[in-house]
């Protein structure tokens, strides 16, 4: 790491503070100084929280876990962009070198009816869990794992399944969509499991049940603006939503469900 290139930043932060789900929230302004450009965005928030704790104020609540961009736990809207200005990046992988000394940074939680705010920057994303419970699984026999080469999957099919499976369920698609639609998330799981042999058994039931749950959880409709795709840290493609539409129509017209 080139420490000679690192600098220290003085920043103004405007952060959404909300004591609980029912309380009114609002932006509160904080000053932080001496933020290294080598820090991640979450480390910068850690510095702020140390500062708040020292001064006897409640620290800012935010979700985080692996801090290496694979778990999907973190996620805030930074200056109006889900996960900040970089494409294909989670909030924890965003670094302070993307900001300039003296910048003002507005930090808000994911906003959607289906994602109620728990506290500050933390939202309840259990609606995603309920969608997955409705069909985002395959039923397989227990016991020893089958021999890997008994079920052959062509390479290009593996590639399609793998790029859809890259979804980490962070919710940036919902947060960035003007309709708070969860179609990119649902389409990633449906496309992933529709591509591989293990997913065929529940293929029709899966798409019908997942879409029904998605609608019941009050996510919005897709208007094909592509904001979700641009905000997605796993770079899930809009073609998956087209596949979701096809799968849904096929299941409606040709399955017994």
């Amino acid at each position: 790491m080139n420490h000679a290139a690192s600098k220290n930043l003085n920043l103004t932060l405007k952060i959404w503070r909300q004591a609980g789900p029912k309380q009114a929230g609002g932006l509160k302004t904080y000053q932080v100084s001496g933020i290294s450009t080598d820090m991640s965005f979450l480390e910068m928030l850690d510095v702020l929280n140390e500062q708040l704790i020292a001064s006897g104020e409640e620290p800012v609540a935010f979700d985080h876990d692996c801090r290496e961009g694979i778990c999907g736990t973190c996620g805030v809207v930074i200056n109006g962009q889900a996960h900040g200005p970089d494409s294909g990046t989670t909030t924890c992988q965003l670094h302070m070198r993307r900001f300039k000394d003296g910048d003002t940074i507005v930090i808000e939680p994911w906003l959607a009816k289906a994602f109620p705010i728990v506290r500050d920057l933390i939202v309840d994303r259990s609606a995603f869990d309920r969608i997955i419970q409705a069909g985002g699984f395959v039923s397989v026999n227990t016991g020893n794992a089958p021999e890997a080469n008994t079920t052959l999957v062509p390479h290009h099919v593996q590639q399609d399944a793998m790029s859809a499976a890259a979804c980490i369920g962070c919710g940036a698609c919902v947060a960035s969509c003007k309709n708070a639609s969860a179609m990119l998330f649902v389409s990633a799981k449906v496309s992933h499991l529709a591509s591989i042999p293990q997913g065929q058994g529940e293929r029709s039931k899966r798409v019908l049940n997942m879409v029904a749950t998605m609608d019941a959880e009050h996510f919005g409709n897709c208007t094909n603006t592509g904001e979700c795709e641009a905000a997605c840290p796993a770079k899930i493609n809009l073609t998956n939503i087209a596949q979701l539409n096809r799968e849904y129509l096929k299941a409606s017209l040709f399955s017994k469900e």
């Binding site: 809207v77 309709n179 409709n221 094909n224 129509l249 409606s252």
Partner: protein, 243 residues
């Protein structure tokens, strides 16, 4: 498998075995599907309507001949009009209900919001409801002016069945300042609506593939421009040509 008596307990749709159809039409994806199909069929109407109207550049006789040839097939016209009304009402109804649903799903708006799509500041795609509303207003005035002939101030041809009536009445509408402005704005906004709507319909129908989607997007933009310029040029040039 359930027998028919068991199905009948689930209401009329269950008796008819149409629960799946109701589920499809009430789902978010089914509604987008209907939106796309009705939108594309209405695009087809626009092509024929523009082709017919461009005869206004050829003068009164060709236009009147075309209008009478069309309206002499009144059975076909009646079916086509009924079809268009159904398509239009379905498109508008779903636009209203899904927009309300989307607004409720969003619930709260960010203090600050920026697009992450490279180069996008403001796009036709986020203004579909607004542009559609303008087009709806324009269509209503257009129907009042020329389908129903209800605007007394327009000096319609005394006998609506006469050979000269179609061209005369069109000129009467086009020389009215209110209609001229609304038709011009309507044509341009319609083009904006189509520049996203055409390609978007294919995505809603599940047709998205690297093989043809880039082409569909380009065709959608060109289609929007042709429709906008085509109809707007009639409003701008035709009244001056045949004064």
């Amino acid at each position: 498998m359930t027998d028919s008596t068991a199905q009948c307990k689930r209401g009329l749709l269950g008796c008819l075995g149409l629960n799946w159809f109701f589920r499809l039409l009430s789902s978010s994806i089914g509604q987008k599907f209907v939106m796309g199909v009705t939108g594309l069929l209405l695009c087809g109407f626009l092509v024929t309507h523009l082709a017919g109207n461009l005869l206004l550049f050829a003068g009164a006789k060709p236009f009147n001949e075309y209008a009478h040839a069309l309206h002499s097939q009144w059975e076909l016209v009646a079916v086509a009009e009924l079809g268009l009304v159904v398509l239009f009402l379905a498109h508008v109804y779903l636009a209203v209900t899904t927009t309300i649903g989307n607004y409720r799903a969003r619930r709260e708006f960010y203090v600050l919001k920026q697009s992450k799509v490279p180069g996008r500041i403001i796009g036709a795609n986020t203004w579909m409801f607004a542009s559609g509303s303008v087009v709806l207003g324009f269509v209503i005035l257009h129907l009042i002016d020329l389908r129903m002939g209800l605007r007394r101030s327009l000096h319609y041809f005394p006998d609506p069945e006469a050979f000269e009536a179609p061209f005369h009445n069109t000129m009467a509408a086009l020389s009215d300042p209110i209609s001229r402005v609304v038709y011009f704005v309507g044509a341009i906004i319609l083009g904006v609506h189509l520049s996203h709507g055409f390609a978007s319909a294919f995505q809603s129908l599940g047709l998205n593939h690297p093989k043809y989607t880039p082409l569909i997007k380009i065709i959608g933009k060109i289609f929007g421009v042709i429709i906008a310029i085509g109809f707007a040029s009639i409003v701008v040039f035709v009244p001056g040509m045949w004064r």
